[in-house]
Every structure is written in C-alpha cells, then in structure tokens.
C-alpha cells in the first residue's frame, strides 16, 4: 500500500500532469528513490512514443527561422560535478573578469579545442593538429587567467556576439565569437589589431569559439573583424563587420 502510494505519481509526472507544487515535491522524492526514478524514465520514454506518433510536417518556413535563431544563441557547457558554470554573470566592459566568467571561458575554450577554430587543418597530420590545439589551449588559458585581463564585447547587426579578452601584461588577446554564421564560399573571417587606424592582421577565424589572436597586442587600441578571401589578406578588403575598442 505504502509502496503504491509512493509510486503513484510516476505516471502523472511522466505526462506533465502534476500541478507545480506536487511536481516539485515529487522531484525531491525522486532524488532519494532510485526505483521511482527508473520507473519515471521508462514512463517518460513511453509518453515520448505517444508524442512521436503525432508527428506532422512542420511549416516550411520553420527550419530557416530556427537556423537563423541559433546564430545568436550561445550553447551551454556540459554539466560538471560541483556545478557553478550556469551562474555566469554578464561580462562587464572594462572591468577585471569575474572568476566565474573566466571559468566559463576556459571551459568553452577547452570544449571548442577539439573542433579547433583555426583554418590550418590537415587531416593526415593528426599529431601536429593535436599539438597545435594544445598550444592554442595553453595560450588561451594564459590570456584568460592573466590578472590584468579585460574584456570588451561587440555585436554585428546580424546578432553575432563577440568578446575580446585582452591582457596587456601577457601582450596577448583572445577573440571569442558566438553565433558566427558560416562565411560565404571562398571567404573567411579575419581579425585585425587596430593600431591607431592602421589595421594589422591578427589571424583568421572560421567558426564559433575562442581563438588566440596572432601577434602581440602592443599599442593596439582595438580589434576589428572583416570578411576576406580564403587565406586572409594583408590589409582589409571589406568594411569591418565589427570594431571593438580596448578599454583604456
């Protein structure tokens, strides 16, 4: 009887049929009841089958809307034991980076390390790639953990968001993009240091994630992003997508 009582809400729970207060109470109970949790998993999977059987062709414009939508949505890092990564506060311009943000940046950098943001990839040179990725990760960490690290964020009209983390002490900067659309065929994104109006090449970027900018920060006053032919250019051939000034 008491067993029946304990298990009774599994069905209602799997069908999202519990009112909020009862759902919260049952979720607390689930944490201490592996048998209930197993039953909930099975019944949830069963309910999902009811859902799949209702499949209907989605409206034709929906896919384009979703694909455009994800461009401005940052992906969550995986859950890690101990948590904390979800409590990221917004990056504030010109301030020292809060520790949690640093942690999240490093997590993102490591996460993206495997897919590497750089264009110089040759499938037959896996070890060189791995070494390069490690090198990239080390340099990222060096900048992100610098005591004088500062950030500046910018956005394009299309909703791409980017953050540059700069450390004058380490003479290095990291560019982190979110929602960067694929460049047009035959094109790539190129980073530039802005030396008082003169643009100095700072490497290429081909996808979302964090990239260490090539070359020292030196006296640069900011960073720009342009679209260039594959391989990059010696100087910008298009107007900047984004220009960000370093905090002084």
């Amino acid at each position: 009887m008491s067993d029946e009582h304990l298990h009774a809400p599994t069905g209602a729970y799997a069908l999202d049929a519990l009112p909020d207060d009862e759902r919260d109470a049952f979720e607390r109970h689930l944490e201490t009841c592996p048998a209930c949790a197993q039953e909930v998993r099975e019944l949830t999977a069963t309910a999902a089958r009811l859902g799949v059987s209702a499949a209907t062709a989605p409206p034709p414009g929906m896919k384009a809307a979703v694909l455009a939508g994800i461009d401005s949505v940052r992906q969550l890092p995986p859950l890690v034991p101990g948590g904390g990564a979800s409590a990221v506060s917004p990056v504030r311009r010109g301030r020292a980076l809060p520790r949690l943000v640093l942690a999240a940046c490093v997590a993102a950098a490591v996460g993206f390390g495997g897919v590497a943001a750089w264009q110089y990839q040759r499938a037959d040179e896996a070890s060189e790639q791995a070494r390069a990725a490690q090198d990239q990760a080390d340099r990222l960490t060096a900048v992100l953990s610098a005591p004088d690290a500062r950030t500046v964020t910018g956005a394009t009209e299309g909703g791409t968001r980017a953050t540059v983390v700069v450390s004058r002490e380490r003479n290095s900067a990291v560019f982190v993009a979110s929602g960067l659309p694929k460049p047009p065929a035959g094109k790539t994104y190129q980073l530039w240091f802005d030396d008082d109006g003169a643009m100095r090449p700072a490497g290429l970027v081909s996808s979302d994630g964090a990239s260490v900018m090539q070359g020292g920060v030196d006296g640069a006053s900011g960073v720009g992003v342009t679209v260039e032919p594959l391989g990059g250019s010696a100087e910008p051939t298009t107007g900047p997508l984004m220009v960000m000034s370093f905090p002084t």
Binding site: A8, A12, A47, G51, I70
Partner: protein
C-alpha cells in the same frame, strides 16, 4: 510523413541521433540541420496536438528546437534516448504554454470552457484516428476505457490529473493510479525500455 514516423519507431535510428547530437554539442551547424530534419516533425506535431493553434505551435516548436541547440551538451544518454529527451522538452513547453494561459483566465471562465469541450470519447477517437503509428494505436486500444481517456487527456490536452479527474468525474486518486497503470501497460505493449 511516413518517414518521420519511422524515425521515432525502430530504435536502430537512435544511436545515430545521439552521435549527431554530440556533433551539435560541439557547435556543428550542419549536424544541427540534420538533427532538425529528424526531430522537427515529431516536435511540431506534438506541440500542435496540445496547443491546437498552428501559429502558436510553430512558435513553441521553434523554441524547442533552439533549446536543443542550446543545451545539446547537457543531454545525458543514461537518462533516455535523444528522441525521448526532446519530446519531453517539447511536451513540457507546450503544457507550460497551456497552463500560463489558463492562469490568466478566471475560474468561472475555465469551467465554462470545460463544458464546451467535446465529450472525451470524441477526443480519444479523434486522437486515435490521427495517430500515425500503428503500434501506438494498437497499444492504446489495449487500455481500459478509463486508462485511455485519462492518458490521452493528460498527454494530448495538457490537463493536470486534477483536470482529468474533473473531466471524467472520477476520484483524484483513481485518476493518478490510472495514469500510472495505463502508461505501464503502454510501456509493456510497446516494449519500451529505459
């Protein structure tokens, strides 16, 4: 549409979805496009079944798909299949939408709406006719009348078990129990494991 039903049916497609989701978690938009093709039909169909309004359903289905992109790295394979994870998310969102709208209308209006609803036989019938999966249809038929009505009102209408009880004029405890044993019978009939 037949193709969509197949994707959710045989379990052999599932490892593929998990693999694709892994690539999505790494930021691969081409993989997300593939994943979209596999999931959008089931997601939109379920949300539409619950909400009825196509425009609102499209909005919610879009939110669900964007959420799949956003939280791809948080999928835990030991908690169930990718399809199950996504359908659970879709159902919850649809139900949240139903409930927040309900909260906005007052009690009286709600009971008036309830009276205008079609009789439950009609609801179950309508649901059954439109179901594409032969197995799901067959398994739903194997339930008792009360189990079937309770499960379909809760799942496809987004009712709380209290609302189900009111609709069916059945005691709360009975409805809770029927939701559970009805789902258990469906699970066994469909051979679902988790």
């Amino acid at each position: 549409m037949r193709e969509i039903a197949h994707i959710g049916g045989p379990q052999r497609r599932e490892p593929d979805l998990a693999e694709i989701l892994g690539q999505v978690a790494a930021g691969d938009k081409d993989s997300f496009s593939t994943l979209y093709d596999a999931l959008a039909g089931p997601v939109f169909g379920l949300v539409l079944r619950v909400l009825r309004d196509p425009a609102q359903s499209e909005e919610v289905a879009q939110e669900v798909m964007v959420e799949v992109w956003r939280s791809a790295a948080r999928y835990q394979a030991d908690r169930g299949s990718v399809m199950s994870w996504v359908m659970t998310m879709a159902h919850r969102r649809a139900v949240d939408r139903v409930r927040s709208e309900q909260a906005a209308s007052d009690r009286e209006q709600r009971s008036a709406q309830r009276e205008q609803m079609p009789a439950y036989d009609e609801v179950s019938e309508e649901v059954a006719v439109r179901l594409e999966s032969e197995q799901v249809r067959r398994c739903l038929r194997s339930l008792t009348e009360l189990q079937r009505q309770a499960v379909t009102l809760a799942y496809y209408r987004g009712y709380t078990y209290r609302e189900v009880a009111a609709s069916l004029s059945a005691p709360l405890g009975t409805v809770k129990t029927r939701l559970r044993d009805g789902l258990i019978r469906l699970r066994d009939c469909m051979g679902v494991s988790a």
